[in-house]
């Protein structure tokens, strides 16, 4: 009875210092982003221009949206390397359908195909019991191939009919809306893709934290046998998680296609590693069981800020690889060493 009292009565100054330390560690990537933003804004006038900030938000959203779904999947103990392929397929489907039919149909088709591809991934991993890494790597090739075959390896333009009609003086009704999805903004600073990203994260957060499904996801990720034993439908949870990643990727595909006003099968090379890096930097463990959507959201912004700052400061293209790698490692190293030190203390 006396022991808990002594711990409660521990020195309060130490306690509060530890609390601040814990807070900074818990919200490390968020604190880092805030500090980086303040320093960069103070250092460079171009950086703090509203247009540039808008650009950062825009650039963060494409990988950021994919990272929302990926966070859920990684929490469930799997990951999806086929997202670049899914993004390509959804992009070209939308681009080819918008002009001959309608914007709505193009978008709906892209999203539906995305979800279908995700379900296929999920079925292959769960029903054929193939490790997610290699199964999705294989499917990446399949989707890339399908995207190439669909487009014959060409870039499909969304805006083509609009250009044709502009010369004849007739403006197609469908096209401006599509472009708005990619390039429009709210109050001139919040790009539409970023708003969509915020909504996606909000929905994923509700799903993750406020539903049984979210709890099951974490249970499956921390111990699959235990989850099975207590009667969680592991297979269904996994398949839905793959579908969610693909759905997020399809949304990113729609926005990216609208932003570029064109699409091709390889429009997102390297997307899978970028997305997983965002999730990992955000603080989600690749071991599964734990995930943070706030971390992924910040991680997406963090990468966009680094890339933007390197451009603003005129760092050469090749130096950017070096500097961003060093920044990434040192940022995470500081956090890792700090949390190790505090664990030892």
């Amino acid at each position: 009875m006396s022991r808990p009292e002594t711990t409660i009565g521990a020195p309060s100054r130490l306690e509060s210092r530890r609390k601040i330390g814990d807070f900074l560690l818990k919200y490390y990537i968020q604190s880092l982003l805030v500090v980086a933003l303040i320093v960069l804004a103070a250092l460079n006038t171009n950086f703090r221009q509203p247009n540039n900030l808008k650009n950062i938000l825009l650039q963060s959203s494409f990988a950021g949206i994919g990272a929302a779904g990926m966070t859920l999947l990684i929490t469930a103990g799997a990951f999806d390397l086929s997202v670049a392929g899914i993004l390509g397929v959804c992009g070209v489907i939308m681009a080819t359908l918008v002009a001959p039919t309608s914007t709505a149909l193009g978008i709906c088709a892209a999203l539906a195909v995305g979800v279908a591809l995700g379900i296929i991934n999920g079925l292959i991993v769960t029903k054929l019991r193939i490790p997610a890494f290699i199964a999705t790597l294989g499917m990446m090739n399949v989707y890339l191939g399908l995207g190439f075959i669909w487009t014959n390896g060409q870039v499909v333009s969304v805006a083509q009919p609009a250009q044709v009609s502009q010369t004849t003086g007739v403006v197609s009704a469908a096209t401006p809306f599509v472009l708005t999805l990619g390039t429009g903004s709210l109050f001139g600073i919040l790009p539409v893709p970023f708003l969509v990203m915020a909504i996606v994260y909000g929905l994923c957060y509700l799903l993750f934290r406020r539903t049984h499904y979210g709890r099951f996801l974490r249970a499956v990720g921390s111990s699959e046998p235990a989850a099975r034993t207590v009667g969680i439908p592991v297979t269904r949870i996994r398949i839905i998680a793959f579908a969610l990643v693909a759905a997020c990727t399809a949304i990113a595909a729609v926005l990216l296609t609208a932003e570029l006003s064109s699409a091709n099968a390889i429009m997102a090379t390297g997307y899978e590693l970028n997305v997983i890096a965002i999730v990992v930097v955000g603080g989600t463990s690749l071991q599964g069981g734990r995930g943070t959507l706030l971390g992924s959201f910040t991680g997406a912004l963090f990468f966009a800020v680094i890339n933007n700052a390197l451009n603003i400061f005129g760092v050469g293209a090749y130096w950017q690889y070096v500097v961003s790698g060093v920044l990434l490692i040192s940022a995470i190293a500081v956090q890792a060493v700090r949390s190790y030190v505090s664990a030892v203390e």
Binding site: P131, G138, M139, N141, Y321, G325, L328, I332, A336, Y340
Partner: protein
Amino acid sequence: MKQMINNKSMSGSRTASPVRALQLSEGLGVSVLLILVVAAATVTARGFFTYTNITNTVIFASITAVTGFGMTFAIAVGGFDLSVGSVQSITAITVAALLSVTNIPFAIAGALLVGLCIGLANGLIISMLRVSPFVATFGMMSIVRGVALLATKGQSILITKSPIAALNVGKVLWIPVPFIIVLVVFAVLYVVLHHTPFGRHVCALGGNRKAAVASGLSISRITIAVFGMVGLTAGVSGVMLSAQILIANGTLGTGFELQTIAISVLGGTSLAGGSGNLIGTLIASLLIATISSALNILKVAAFYQYLYLGLLLVLALYLDTVRRDILLASILGKGGRA
């Protein structure tokens, strides 16, 4: 009491041999597929089963397999290395650059040293700075790629008038030199993994980190050694690649990291860590090379090659799942009868 002991030892020996059979078949699983694919390719693709084509296929497989072996260690220790593609590029550049000022042995030694140093740096970052292997090697991938592009100013370096091509086209007793390199690296690493304390420590650390720490293993030394080895094997593949294509630039090896992880996993090494299957890695590299070679000979359009390669990979892995099920069922069936 005596009976209990007897029972125990009996049941021990009973389970031991099927379990060993299962372990042995882990390496053989992919090889059944390899035989099937080779047979199918021989029947359907005229010109597949010729000496020249088989040699080319084996050389193609060798370059991936060498780094695949190192990657198998990294996966066994519970991580993986995303920087191998960049390392392959920068070591190929090192060979090309050094060949203009020095002889072949120095050029190769220099390249291997570069690979080893990058690998050791990865290991140091992971063990000393406690950065996860994913982030550390993802960052290193970017850094090394940048240095490779800076060093070459984005240009290509040609290797001219150098007998280093013999490393690629040379043959000893009709066996291409790259495959001999692969066999040597395989033999060395096989012994290291299965017959040395270090190999057991690698698997122990990958299998159960806490237990490994508790039993007094030096985590950082093992991690640094393993990632140093991955860097070294990536360097070997960089040397082999430069000898093959006789040109080096900063964009070589893009996507190499996923290829090498893929052949390790396809070969039966679990990403969960704790074990490595080097034979499987070797056979998986041959399998993938055979599939691409057959698709090339069948003149399958590039677009469709992606599609078929992906589908065949998934099919291959599904057959592997089926094989494991059958074996497990037979083991459990035997256990039930006895």
